[in-house]
């Protein structure tokens, strides 16, 4: 079970949203990281056959999905970043509809289980038109798991979820990744940290890194500094350095900065996090 991407590119008009991407995913959770406009959603749309590549190929177990999209569609679960629902159908009816167009047999029991998973059992027969954003997002998660997918592609899946649901879904993703391929895109770095076994870093439509989280973090080793600055100097530090986090304290503000050289005489080296590594690699890529 593997998905292989070769020289993948997508152009909208004159702009390349994605170019020269080569990747292979097997079972596990692959976290896609990158700033806005990096090409993460385009990449997900390409590997799910939602859109066609301008160049390159996507192969699922060796089969080119552009030529035989059905091979992939029968095993993929996809939660797009932007999606809608039919307001006049209930949650149960909507899932039943998607099950029928997926060619799934009797799916009633699984739909009930999935509604339980996303805590919508009590609202199963309510029309989707009255659902809040978070509830619709949970319906989206349920539909992505409808076909017991071998490949699960989820784009910003935890947006709109409360913390409890978010952690729960994160755990579900990690569990699914044990024997399937999960591609997860999110801006919420702790979600990636918690679930991803691999991380692919995209920037400006190109692949900057594809590594294990620990390897990625180690690339920022020796580049993360912390020290306390007076509150009135904070804006100056922010304007001259890549500040990862700030924490207010009684004696000032503790700043965490990603930099090659010590940013201040009082700055001390500290252990990097994934967020630091992300900032470090994106910063390096921009300077290149």
């Amino acid at each position: 079970m593997s998905i292989t991407v070769s020289n993948l590119g997508k152009r909208y008009g004159d702009t390349w949203a994605l170019r020269n991407i080569d990747l292979t995913f097997e079972s596990g959770v692959v976290g896609l990281l990158g700033p806005n406009g990096a090409g993460k959603s385009t990449f997900m749309r390409l590997i799910t056959t939602a859109t066609q590549p301008t160049e390159g190929t996507v192969r699922w177990n060796g089969t080119d999905v552009s030529e035989q999209p059905r091979q992939l569609r029968s095993v993929v679960g996809y939660l797009p970043q932007q999606f809608g629902v039919y307001p006049n159908l209930s949650a149960k009816e909507f899932l039943s509809y998607l099950a029928s167009i997926r060619g799934l047999g009797s799916a009633d029991e699984r739909i009930a289980d999935l509604l339980d998973l996303v805590n919508l059992t009590d609202e199963a027969n309510d029309r989707l038109g009255g659902f809040s954003g978070g509830m619709r997002q949970r319906v989206g998660i349920a539909q992505a798991l409808l076909s017991d997918p071998d490949l699960l592609v989820v784009d910003e899946p935890t947006v709109g979820l409360d913390p409890q649901e978010r952690v729960r879904f994160r755990n579900v993703l990690a569990e699914l990744g044990e024997d399937r391929t999960v591609v997860l895109s999110t801006h919420i770095v702790p979600d990636i940290e918690a679930a991803a076994t691999d991380i692919a870093l995209l920037h400006d439509g190109r692949m900057v890194a594809h590594e294990r989280p620990s390897a990625l973090i180690s690339r920022a080793s020796g580049s993360v500094w912390e020290w306390v600055v007076p509150e009135d100097e904070l804006s100056k530090v922010k304007s001259t350095h890549t500040v990862s986090t700030t924490t207010r304290r009684q004696d000032g503000v503790q700043v965490r900065v990603v930099a090659e050289n010590p940013p201040d005489s009082n700055a001390e080296l500290t252990e990097p996090t994934l967020e630091d590594a992300y900032l470090c690699l994106i910063g390096e890529d921009m300077s290149v």
Binding site: T51, G84, D113, G129, S147, R168
Partner: protein, 526 residues
């Protein structure tokens, strides 16, 4: 000054957004072709026996007369949707929470509507000018050729722009009901201006009638006006020619446009009062389907640190989910679900009308069944048919459903749903025609319920809005089955209509389905 800047800003942004759509590029081509058909392929015969010397003025008046009528009808779907677009693109909340007053926002939208329609008018006048250069008589005098468009068509386009905007601000007029009402109002206005002096001469036909009538009387004193008929015909015949000097800028002609300007102002005033700054219940607004903004995401991110949560609430054994088996695409089940979706969410009045229509096809006398009742009842399918090919786009479910299944297979399901619904509506009539030993009479209705959903599907996919099919269908229904004009009698309501008409509509069905498939493929590639 800031008000003007705001109005201009809204108008410019809206116009730019529309003008960069490839769909709008088709309009000048269609308008130019229309001008060619009117000027080169046919001629105007008034009062059954008079036609004008083909001067610049005659060309201008001849094309303006029918061009304004067509633009009054076709302009509605062309510019409709300027507020809906702001809802669908999630610009609505930005507008709703901005300080711009309602009237400034709406006037900006109106100006954009009028700009689009004025471009169509300009293309029409320009194409007429070219046709005159090629085929006309006498000197090219631009003023009498262009004046009818400036004096009549442009104010009428102002009305169209205001009417669409007004209908979009009033909830129950936003959908098919609004299109039907608009069609009936314009149709009444056109019919009235042909036979009597009307206070609001939208099409300018009354102006032409009086002006041409005076010219004919001067040259043919035996003529007893007024002119009752304007026929655009391609068949030659013995007609008298007269020289028409064209419309003049007089107090009377300019004054005759003032009621249209006042009507436009009134519609804009109603729109301003009715406009709720996109404050509709979320279930009625497609934009509600949007995901959270980055700010919401940040908020969601911040809440992660808020206290521990129990492991029972955050864990789920994924293996406990019931298994599901992959099988074949269950067409019947999908059709039934699609049919359910197509029938839900309409107004109660529509359901009552459908029931009444269904019952009427079972009880009315057989002789009026095909001539009146079936065409009328099939009109009730308008909201279902006009939504074909649009649902995924309207509710932004494309990525969910097109990844889940073969998009072209779903397209065929949509078409089948349209056919099935049409057949259900007139089922008693079909049964009665068979039972009464007139199965041949079934051909017309069956071709209609096969062809109309196909055309609706193609129109929906190509135009991305329902009103294009709605106006086209209503126009065809009125001209064809209701008035017996053979080429548009898609149902063969008139017994004398040739069977070749049904063959032509079958061919149209095939072409429309092919266009729908190509259009969907194009959508998928984008």
């Amino acid at each position: 000054m800031s008000a003007l800047r705001a109005v201009f800003g809204v108008a410019l942004a809206d116009f730019r957004e529309r003008s960069r759509s490839s769909q709008l590029l088709v309009v000048p081509v269609l308008v130019a072709y229309f001008a060619k058909v009117v000027t080169v392929d046919s001629t105007l015969v008034v009062a059954d026996q008079y036609t004008g010397v083909p001067t610049a003025a005659w060309y201008g008046g001849m094309v303006m007369g029918i061009g304004t009528t067509v633009l009054l009808l076709a302009g509605f779907p062309l510019v409709k949707g300027s507020l809906a677009r702001d809802r669908q693109t999630n610009v609505a909340p930005l507008v709703g929470t901005s300080p711009i007053p309602d009237w400034q926002y709406l006037i900006g939208k109106w100006i954009s509507n009028v700009a689009v329609l004025s471009i169509a008018t300009a293309v029409l006048a320009l194409a007429t000018n070219v046709a005159f250069i090629l085929d006309g008589t006498g000197a090219l005098n631009p003023l009498p050729l262009w004046l009818p468009f400036i004096l009549v068509t442009v104010p009428a386009m102002g009305f169209v722009g205001a009417a669409t905007l007004c209908f979009e601000t009033i909830g129950f007029l936003r959908g098919t009901a609004g299109t039907v009402l608009y069609f009936l109002v314009v149709l009444t206005a056109i019919s009235a201006s042909l036979v009597t002096s009307v206070p609001i001469d939208l099409t300018g036909i009354a102006l032409l009638r009086d002006s041409m009538g005076t010219a004919i009387t001067t040259q043919y004193p035996a003529f007893e006006g007024p002119i009752r008929t304007f026929a655009y015909t391609s068949t030659g015949g013995a007609v008298n020619t007269f020289r028409w000097p064209g419309l003049a800028v007089t107090q009377q002609t300019v004054g005759s446009r003032l009621p249209i300007v006042a009507l436009t102002g009134g519609l804009l005033a109603i729109a301003t009062v009715a406009f709720d700054r996109f404050n509709e219940p979320s279930s009625r607004v497609p934009a509600f389907l949007r995901r959270h903004s980055p700010d919401d995401m940040a908020e969601s991110n911040d809440t992660t640190a808020q206290g521990p949560v129990s492991s029972a609430a955050t864990s789920f054994d994924i293996d406990s989910l019931a298994p599901v088996e992959s099988g074949e695409f269950d067409s019947v089940r999908v059709v039934m679900t699609e049919l359910r979706m197509a029938l839900r969410g309409h107004r109660r009045l529509w359901y009552l009308a459908c029931i009444a229509g269904f019952v009427s096809t079972a009880v009315v006398p057989l002789q009026s069944l095909k001539t009146v009742v079936i065409p009328l009842v099939l009109l009730l399918a308008l909201p279902v048919w006009s939504a074909l090919g649009l649902r995924e786009q309207t509710y932004r479910t494309e990525e969910l459903v097109f990844v889940a299944s073969n998009p072209l297979r779903l397209l065929s399901v949509s078409y089948v749903v349209g056919v099935v619904f049409g057949a259900i509506l007139i089922l008693p009539a079909l049964v009665r025609l068979v039972m009464n030993g007139t199965p041949a009479a079934l051909i017309g209705p069956l071709v209609a319920i096969g062809c109309l959903p196909a055309v609706a599907l193609a129109a929906g996919i190509l135009s991305s809005q329902p009103s294009v099919f709605e106006i086209a269908y209503l126009t065809a229904w009125y001209i064809g089955p209701m008035n017996g004009v053979e080429p548009l009698d898609y149902i063969r309501a008139d017994p004398s209509t040739s069977p070749t008409v049904s063959v032509a509509y079958l061919a149209l069905m095939v072409v429309a389905l092919a266009v729908a498939v190509l259009g969907r493929r194009r959508q998928l590639r984008s």
